[in-house]
């Protein structure tokens, strides 16, 4: 590759290093795609954590894997596989939630769906002959070879998803924290639940293309969970969730560019580090408060 020949490695001069990052079209595409995905994941992830639907989100990411593998097998664009399987998965999850079983029966049904998805994924991969290279990036992500057209598709999907969430923000928030009162006030609680799963499916499909199917959580859950830890103000929380997702994506892409490890690894490690840092910080702050409030020994 010509690009490989031009690659100079990390110079430790921030300006030249940044220039290097933006010198190649594939890297610009990766940064654009990462930015789009981070914003989308930050917003939908915040609502997913609020709604305690991380298990459903995880299931959708597992479903993304056979989708991508099936698309590869059929010679279709991988993105098509992600989006169609996540869309179908969201419909299945909505069906499970709509059947109004007990909570434990619901998790059991979701879990079975997950196992089925994983099994299918490995079946497709073993039927497919370009096996190993493909499997790695399907599971753990890649930033190589994202085309400008793919960026365009991601942008269209993200604008649609984020617009839907913003327009429905208050009724969705109401339905998420207080379903009974929301229903009585005429909020279409069931429809919003169904619509949100579809948007979540879109977000998972888009995120999978950067982080890989297994590491979607790094962008969808961890930044959102950190934001919920940091603030109980809703709007600020969503903004923080997006900011953290953006930060770890940009840094993760830059680190992956200068090293041999997959981008999913960096994004996951960075967002996990932020989460742990915030938890520890809050723990210490609370201890200090408790000590300050404790009565002085006589």
């Amino acid at each position: 590759m010509i690009e490989a020949a031009l690659f100079q490695g990390l110079s430790w001069n921030p300006i030249t290093d940044l220039q290097q990052l933006f010198a190649f079209q594939f890297m610009v595409n990766a940064l654009e795609a990462g930015t789009i995905v981070a914003v989308m994941a930050g917003v939908t992830g915040w609502f997913m954590v609020l709604r305690k639907q991380t298990f459903a989100g995880h299931t959708l990411s597992v479903i993304a894997f056979p989708g991508a593998a099936a698309a590869g097998l059929a010679g279709l664009p991988v993105a098509l596989g992600y989006f169609s399987f996540c869309g179908l998965g969201a419909l299945a999850l909505a069906g499970i939630a709509g059947s109004r079983r007990s909570l434990s029966a619901e998790s059991a049904a979701i879990g079975s769906l997950q196992a089925l998805a994983l099994g299918l994924g490995f079946l497709f991969v073993s039927l497919y002959h370009g096996v190993l290279n493909g499997l790695d990036s399907l599971l753990f992500g890649t930033f190589l070879g994202i085309t400008s057209r793919q960026v365009g598709v991601l942008l269209a999907v993200a604008v649609t998803a984020v617009t839907l969430v913003v327009v429905a923000a208050r009724p969705l928030f109401f339905a998420s924290v207080d379903a009974d009162v929301a229903r009585a006030r005429g909020v279409p609680v069931a429809l919003l639940g169904f619509g949100f799963l579809l948007v979540l499916g879109l977000s998972v499909a888009a995120t999978s293309q950067i982080t890989g199917a297994l590491l979607v959580f790094a962008l969808l859950v961890t930044p959102a969970a950190t934001a919920h830890q940091l603030t109980s103000r809703a709007v600020l929380g969503i903004a923080l969730s997006v900011a953290i997702a953006l930060g770890v994506t940009w840094l993760g892409l830059a680190l992956a560019y200068f090293s041999v490890y997959p981008v999913g690894f960096y994004v996951t490690s960075l967002s996990f580090a932020v989460y742990v840092g915030v938890r520890v910080g809050r723990f210490i702050a609370r201890r200090r408060q408790d000590v300050a409030l404790a009565p002085e020994p006589a």
Partner: protein
């Protein structure tokens, strides 16, 4: 000028004065009749309690008032409309909702949902209506004495504090009717008395009709205008003295029931293991 007293006029005036009217209503769920022949009338500014043993259908009645469950029989009107059509003029507190400790949403945001939670789109910052909304939210939080903790995550508050904020949420739109399903249930005795007094004050000062489901009649006994007692698949409505009497309850349960009045004025019902407020005595550790 024609005569003022045509049937339509009378009906219209009644609709204005009557918050809730049920006539020989029945609700069926899963093929089973929960109650039938239930009649009820609540005027504006009246404080009415719904009593009855567990599973009698008290929450079912609340849901019928809100139009969340259809009537199988009879007629009903709420704020002059069929049930469910005037819900934006009703403040609703469902039965026992506790936010778990992990819910990191501020109390004030929960209250604000009562005001604008059903609105689509995002609010435009700087609009005068936003300042008005914020002022109304602050006012109603002050009304329920929750200002001190309204900005904390609601999951970290006690049951009584959560309950006050939820009552504020139900009140924030200045409803004409307040339906409260067991609002005193998870509270200790001082908080029960305080919340009951608060509801009564709102009822009187703002002329709001109140329909309150209670497990124990005693904290609200002195405030009540009327009582609906649901048991045995039907209901009796009347003044507290009429309904909470040995004769009425024995008839309703089809078994001998005795109502005693303790020296402090509290009512104690004996003879029916399932009846509420049998444990009328004060808790010694309070």
């Amino acid at each position: 000028m024609s005569q003022a007293g045509t049937a339509a006029d009378i009906e219209a005036r009644n609709a204005k004065e009557t918050a809730v009217a049920f006539e020989r209503a029945a609700v069926r769920m899963g093929g089973r009749t929960i109650w039938s022949d239930l009649s009820l009338s609540v005027a504006r500014g009246e404080f009415v309690a719904i009593l009855g043993p567990n599973g009698a259908g008290k929450s079912t009645l609340i849901k019928a008032v809100l139009g969340l469950l259809p009537l199988a029989d009879g007629r009903a009107s709420v704020l002059g409309r069929p049930p469910g059509e005037a819900n934006d003029r009703i403040g609703y507190l469902p039965q026992r909702r506790n936010f778990d400790a992990g819910t990191r949403i501020r109390g004030v945001d929960i209250v604000k949902l009562g005001l604008d939670g059903a609105r689509w789109g995002i609010p435009i910052p700087g609009l005068p209506s936003r300042a008005r909304d914020a002022a109304r939210v602050a006012e109603v939080i002050e009304l329920v004495d929750a200002t001190v903790y309204a900005r904390k995550p609601i999951g970290e508050l006690s049951g009584g504090e959560q309950q006050r904020l939820l009552i504020a949420q139900a009140l924030v739109r200045r409803p004409e009717l307040l339906v409260l399903d067991e609002p005193l249930d998870s509270l200790d005795l001082p908080n029960q008395a305080a919340v009951a007094a608060l509801v009564r004050r709102i009822c009187r000062e703002e002329n709001v009709a109140v329909l309150l489901v209670a497990h124990d009649i005693n904290p609200i006994l002195s405030y009540l205008d009327r009582v609906v007692y649901i048991a045995g698949g039907t209901a009796v409505e009347g003044s507290p003295e009429q309904v909470i009497s040995s004769e009425t309850l024995s008839r309703l349960y089809g078994a001998p029931i005795e109502v005693l009045r303790a020296s402090d004025g509290r009512l104690v019902v004996v003879g029916q293991p399932e009846a509420p407020f049998v444990h009328g005595g004060r808790h010694s550790h309070d």
